[in-house]
Structure formats: structure tokens, C-alpha cells
Symmetry: C3
Subunit: 346 residues, 3 copies
């Protein structure tokens, strides 16, 4: 962490917040609320953690509007509209910068003669760029990456080490691709034939939009024909599996270990929580949210929240969860009726 | 896609189909049914999609026998026994070829002096082949692959980039191994000892048969002792996990993100759908089919369909799913009885 | 396997066991109980497999105390306190050694001038070590590994091929990191802002203790700020996902395909079975055991066994599983009552 001295006044200015307490209070670093010392800035973004305002040692605390008047002893509070966003902005200021990407091609990299390399490109040690590949300006191809024949990497996009982009696949601008990602391996298609399973040629590609982030060891398969499509601003976590011919709409979020089977279509702003699964050949409407570990087996209209395996509405799911308790009540009820019947019979 | 002109007559000949409509109709490309233009060939393989025959713009459509007499306006239909197989065959004809593997060893590859390299082998840039490894004729070791000491790669097998095959493991002939696959990492075995967890040495290997395909970032661990075995024609999707000492029978299909715990044995033709799990030390009989996200905890005789966690028969699973509805009926029934008892009591 | 002749007497001495049968019996190899021949040593560690003592061909069998007096025909039994531990010890003796790591730096490796490389270090072909990285004595950086800027690799730690350790992350001593592992990719954090999703800078690192083992293709993300922490002796299987700011206590065991969401804290000796999931921001107490495919959504006190999605106690889970049967009984009961009421009414 960089050592920077900053007053509450200056911080409030940066995040457009309102000060409650001493505006001249100074911090020199940032920290999570539990680990913070008095020279640290921290944050509490939710009223349910209110008591942390007095148990933390942090000198200055960003808080949400609900906590504007919370008792905070001698700490200085800064009230913000969006605490998460404000803290993220400040934490970037205090963060030690990641190692810089120095433009240039490492002599150990193997670049085909007819690959097209833009301006200010950085290609790391032992990277391999095949014939016909096009690397746009300002892109970073880190050490040990593989960029296949005729693949395209967009302006300012970063491939971290050990990424594989297979032939003819296209990655847009300003994307961040983490280590171990595989883009454009064959889709999984076999047809039972008279002599056993016959491979269906996977002749399509993967097309990834701009500002897409893809987490470590995620795999996105090339299309059977046509394209597997990841639209702009999609954010994908680690170890996600996206099968052939899938289409993911803008700004969707796919959390770790989720998986999407072949030819499924996700709308804009869809959220898959961790380990969620989507069946093949179905459509998930804009803004749907799928709970962790849930499996969606039928198409969903926009805006649905789905949970469970097979996924259903939250109401139905909670009803199912409550079944054992409801069952016990029913048993008690029946015992009661039984007793009454006995009484009547006598 | 290659531009090839082809008549319905020619297509019917290639796929042994029967024409309904104009046999001289010409297409110049192929496409999925929704995206097709009139110069495209497409397909409808299931009667439930019958209406697509009139909504699509495709000029020629491969259809299954059920749709032989379906109304199709001016489209030319070609009726086939196996639409998927027929379309796969044709799509291969129209597909642009993948980049060719040119035999030869890239000067940047690092090959041990005593590795045995066959005829017509292609070894890519920055690949590493260790001492005693044997690469059979016509094999492809792509860029950045690692082939460990005394490992064996069979005739015509392709390792795509960034594959790791650890020491002494054996891959058969005509296999396709996608990027990021790890074959032969240590199995996971620890024993609680007086000073904590003790590693169980994993002294065995992995043996993979012929015509096996393995999807991106899948991992297959070496045996504790003896062999982890993948038999001929097994097809494995992306991000599948196969633990030590597992045995997978011929022509089994393991869909993405499925996992098989140590020493489990799968018979021939077993299908694990996406995210399915198999417990350790159990046996799954020939031809069993395990539903997506289901976990099998007990051995299964041949031919079973299993679903749920823990997996059970489809009938039992559906019964369980229906429980909330059945419960509501029971509640209503009880109210009825209660009313009757009241009536009697009065 | 090495060919070594060994008497029952010698074996008993090595594992501190007691012989029942011929102490001069000789074996020349080891094997699993089903595949064993008469010149093999094998083991039966559980009374429920008692009948294998007579069906196996193994000449000498390690057994647990419960089987001390089991009928074993002419086999020689050796009774041990901890059969697994004893067999692991012996199997290491008979195992062919893995290829030796020869200290030295392969000429094709790319090592930054200011990286610090200890004594007896082995760096493999085409590996890349960036500026400021510190590789301690006796460490192994295998072929095609990437060690980022200012990363630290501890004494005697082995990175197998194709491992990625990102900048500033720290791996302790005597760790074993299997192929394809990614340590220190960015955590997954985005905040909805007025112009769409804003990336939260991930400015922290990953710190891994001593004697940690990490399975193939597992990913451990760097912290948002501060550290993602894996304590000493933690054992992690293949394809496990550990999100930013997670903390894992000593000697915990994470089985394949399990996943832990951001900022979760696991105590000492926690066990996650295969495909288990832990929600973000919760605490799992020392010694908790989470069943396979279960998802824990609330914090757990020490020593809990949790199962199901959402996870609950074993008793509650089994009650839920039994619901269909209990339901049938209730239906029968109600029919009975109905009949009685009818009787009374008449």
C-alpha cells in the first residue's frame, strides 16, 4: 500500500460526501473495518453493521446515508451515496500499482511473420502468436500466452499469462482475460452413428465484445457453426463453462463455476450466482437472476428470480423448504382429529 | 464458410435422403434454422419444431421422417434417417478448414535428446518434451504443451496448446486433447497421522485409449498405484474432474463440469450430464444415464437413469418434486374431515 | 513398480504390525486387493470388506485390528493400527521414483536480471520468472511456469508445469502446486455505476503457508485489498475455486470442484467434500464437515456436519429425504379416518 496522507476534507471532496466529525482528521492508509487501525480509512455500507462504527479503530469511515446520524464516538464519518463505489475509488489511490506493461516484444516470443501487431503492443516472454493473427494497438499478450491463427485481439485488451485463444476467435477492446482461460476450444458434439460416436465438426468461432472480463481457467467453446457470442461489458468469474453457440447479453454477470449448455441464450443484465447451471437451447430473459447452485431447465421471461434444481420461483422454493415443518403440523392435526373421532365413537 | 453451390439433388445423394420439392434448388451455404437466408441449407430434426419449416428463410431443409409430409411452402425438404448426422456431414463440407498442422519441430521447442519422435510429427513453438517421452507418428504437440518424462502420445493424436501430460502417462491414438487439459497430476490422498496430514504417494499413471476426446481444462489424476483408465471412444467435455484410480468404460460421455471421485468405475456407454457427480469406490453399470447436477452415492446396475442428490429413479424424483402439490391436497382433505367431525359432534 | 523382495517379518517391522500367519512369506510387489497376485502385498482396512481376505490372491495383507482374527486361509495377515498410513508407507518403497528434479536453470527459461534465485533451485524449460521475484533454495519451477513480479516461492516448494503465480503473491515452503493452478488472478468485484459495471481494483495478494498442496487447475484469487490466506498444511484438490479475501485455516481439506465465495473464513481442519460451496462473508468453524455438493449459506459453529442446499444438519436433511415415505403413511392414515367418519355418520 502506498503511504499517502489525506484529510477527511480531501476525501469528502473526492467522493462527493458529507463530513460528520473532524474534517482535519488524517489517515495514511485504508483497511477493512475489522483490521483497521486509527490511521486508516474504512467503510460501513449497510445499517445492519452499525455497531462496527464504534468497535473499529478506523479513524475515518465512509458510511451510507442510513448511518449519517449513527453514534460513532470520535471517528470522522463521511456520508456517501454509494459507499462501495466511493471506497473502490479511494482504494485504487492507495493501492500499490500493479507491474507496468512495457510495450515491446520479448525476444523469446514466437510471432508469425504475417501476424499483424499494432502500436504500443506488449508481448511477453515465450508467448506464441500464429500466422494471420491481428493484435490491435495497446494490447498486452502476456508471457506464455497462445494466440491462434487469424485470431483477433482488440485495442487495449490484456491477456494475462497462460491464456489460449484458438484460431479465428475474436476478442474485443479493453477486455481483461485472466490466466488459464481457454477461448475457442471445440464445442462438445457427437452423434451416435453405426460405428459409434461421430464427432460433429465445430466450424464456428467465439466472438467477445468490448470491456469483457473473464476469470481464471474459464472456458468458452467455439460454435458448431456461426458464433458463440459474449456481448459488451459481460463479467465472467473463474472456472465458468460456456458451451458452443451460447449467446450472453450485455452486462451479464456469471459467477464462479457456473455453466451454460449449448445454444442457450441469456439476455442483458442476467446474473448467474456461483455454480448455477443453464440447460441447452433455452432462453433466459433480460435481468433474470439465478441463485447459486440452481439449475434452470426451462426458458425464463425477463426479470425472473429462479432458485433450486430444477429452478422455480423463490416463493415455490421456500414453500418446498418449509415442507417438513408444515408436515409436522399436519401430523399433529391428524392426531387431534383421531382423538376426536375416538371420542365421538364412544 | 466456403462458398460452394450445391443442388438439392446433390445433397440428397450425399446424405442418402429423399427430396420433397424442387431437386434443382441451389444453396451456397449452411446455417442454423433461425439465421438462415434463402441461399442456405438448414435442418429441423424434431417434429416439435415443425412450424420453423415455414418461418425460416432457408432454401433447403433437412428433415426427419416425421416431417416428410409437413407443409413447407416453397422450401425444398430432404428427408433423412438421421438429420443430425447428415447435417454434420454437410457442415464439414462447407466449413472453412482449420489451420493445417505442418509436420516439423519448431526451433523454439525444447525436446530432450532421448525423446523418441515419430514420422510426420508436428511440435509447436515453445513446447517441451522431456526425457524418454515417445511421440508416435502423425501426432501433434501444439505450442506451449508439456509432455513429461517417459510419457507416450499415440499415432495421430492432437494435443492443442497449453496441455500438460505428466510423466509416464499414456495417451492412445487419434485422441483430441483440448487446451489446458492436465493428465496425470497427483491424485488427492492424505491420511491423518500423529503430526498431521500425510501425503499418500501417487505412484500410478493415467492410461487413455484411442479416439478419446478431452475438453478444455479437464483434469485426470494419476493413480495412487496402478492406473486411472479412460477406455476407447470416451468423450469428455470441458472442466471435468476425474480422480485417481477411476475407470471409464468405452464410449462413455462426460458432460462439462461433471466429476468422478476416486476409484469409481463407470461401464460402457455411461452418460453423465453437466455438473453430475459420482461418489468414490462405486460402480456405475453399462449404459447408465445420470441427470445434470445429480450426485450418485451408491452403485447402479446397468441401464439405470438416475436423478437428484442423492440420485434416485426418475419416478421417485418426480414424486418428490410433486410433494408440495400433493401436500396441499392433503391439507384440503383434512379441513374437509374436520368439518365433518364438527358436524357429527353437533 | 520396483521389484523388491520382502518378508512378512520385515514388513511387520517397518509398520510396527503384528503377524498372523507365516512370517517368512515373501512378496515382491504391492497391489489393490482385487488385482493382487500371490506375490503381492495388499490391504483391507475395514471390517465390512472382510470377505476379500479369502477372495483375494494377495500373499500378505495388512489388516485393521477388527480383522486380527478373521479367517484368511493361507494368507499372512499383518495387523496394524492405521492400515492406510502403513500401506502408504510401503507403497512409497515399492514405487518407481518420479523423475528427479535436477538443480539448474534451463537455458530456454526467461529469468529477470533482478529476480533472486536461491541455491539448488531447478527452473525448467521455457519457464518465465519476472522482475523482483524471489525463488528460495531447493524450489522447483517446472517447465512453462510463470512467476510474476515480486512473487515469492518458498524453500523446497514444487510448481509443476504450466502453473501461474501472479505478481507479489507468496507461496510458503514445501508446497506442491499441480499443473494449471492459477494463484493471484483478480478477485471478481464490480459495482453498478451510472455508466454500467465498474471494476473494483483488486489490490491485495494471495499468501499461502507451508506444506500446502494445490490440485490441478485450481484458482485462488488475489484480495480486493489485504490478503487471501491459505494457512499451513491445507490440502486442496483439483478445480477448486477460492475467491478474494477468503481465509482457510490450518489442515483444512477442500475436495475437487468445491468453491468458496469472497471473504468467507474457514477454521482449522474444515473438510469440504466434492462440489461443496460456501457463501461469501460467512464463517465456518473449526472442524466442520460439509457434504458433497452441499451449499452452506449461513455461518456454522465449530464441529458441525452440514448437508444439502441450503445446508442443514444431517438429521434435518435425512428427515427431508424421508418425506415422501412419511407422506404416504399420512395419506393412508387419512383414508382410515375418513372411513371411520363415514361409519360414524351412518
Amino acid at each position: 500500500m502506498k503511504q499517502i496522507s489525506m484529510t477527511a476534507e480531501k476525501i469528502a471532496e473526492l467522493v462527493k460526501g458529507t463530513i460528520s466529525g473532524d474534517p482535519q482528521r488524517v489517515i495514511t492508509g485504508i483497511s477493512g473495518i475489522k483490521d483497521a487501525a486509527k490511521e486508516h480509512l474504512s467503510f460501513v455500507g449497510n445499517k445492519k453493521y452499525e455497531e462496527q462504527l464504534t468497535t473499529t479503530a478506523a479513524g475515518i469511515i465512509l458510511v451510507c446515508k442510513d448511518l449519517a446520524n449513527a453514534p460513532a464516538s470520535d471517528r470522522t464519518l463521511i456520508v456517501c451515496d454509494n459507499v462501495d463505489l466511493a471506497f473502490a475509488k479511494l482504494s485504487a489511490l492507495f493501492a500499490e500499482e500493479p507491474p507496468a506493461f512495457v510495450p515491446g516484444i520479448h525476444p523469446s516470443a514466437v510471432i508469425a511473420d504475417d501476424a499483424v501487431i499494432g502500436e504500443n503492443v506488449c508481448i511477453g516472454a515465450n508467448a506464441v502468436v500464429e500466422s494471420g493473427a491481428v493484435i490491435a494497438d495497446n494490447a498486452v499478450i502476456s508471457a506464455l500466452c497462445y494466440v491462434g491463427h487469424e485470431a483477433k485481439i482488440g485495442n487495449g485488451t490484456i491477456l494475462y499469462p497462460n491464456v489460449t485463444v484458438m484460431y479465428r476467435c475474436e476478442v474485443g477492446a479493453k477486455c481483461i482475460i485472466h490466466p488459464g482461460v481457454v477461448i475457442g476450444a471445440d464445442g462438445f458434439g457427437f452423434i451416435p452413428g453405426p460405428q459409434g460416436l461421430v464427432k460433429v465438426p465445430q466450424t464456428g468461432i467465439v466472438v467477445i465484445g468490448n470491456d469483457v472480463e473473464i476469470g481464471a481457467n474459464t472456458t468458452i467453446d467455439r460454435a458448431r457453426f456461426g458464433k458463440t457470442v459474449i456481448k459488451d461489458n459481460v463479467k465472467i468469474d473463474d472456472q465458468v463453462m460456456i458451451a458452443h453457440n451460447v449467446a450472453i447479453g450485455e452486462s451479464s454477470i456469471l459467477v464462479a463455476q457456473s455453466g451454460i449448455a449449448g445454444s442457450a441464450e441469456l439476455g442483458r443484465g442476467v446474473i448467474l450466482a456461483g455454480k448455477a447451471g443453464i440447460n441447452g437451447h433455452i432462453t433466459i430473459g433480460d435481468g433474470c437472476q439465478i441463485a447459486g447452485t440452481s439449475s434452470v431447465v426451462k426458458s425464463l421471461p425477463p426479470g425472473q428470480i429462479a432458485i433450486g434444481t430444477p429452478a422455480e420461483t423463490q416463493r415455490v422454493f421456500l414453500g418446498r423448504l418449509a415442507l417438513p415443518k408444515k408436515f409436522q403440523k399436519l401430523e399433529a392435526k391428524i392426531k387431534e382429529l383421531e382423538a376426536k373421532i375416538k371420542e365421538l365413537a364412544n
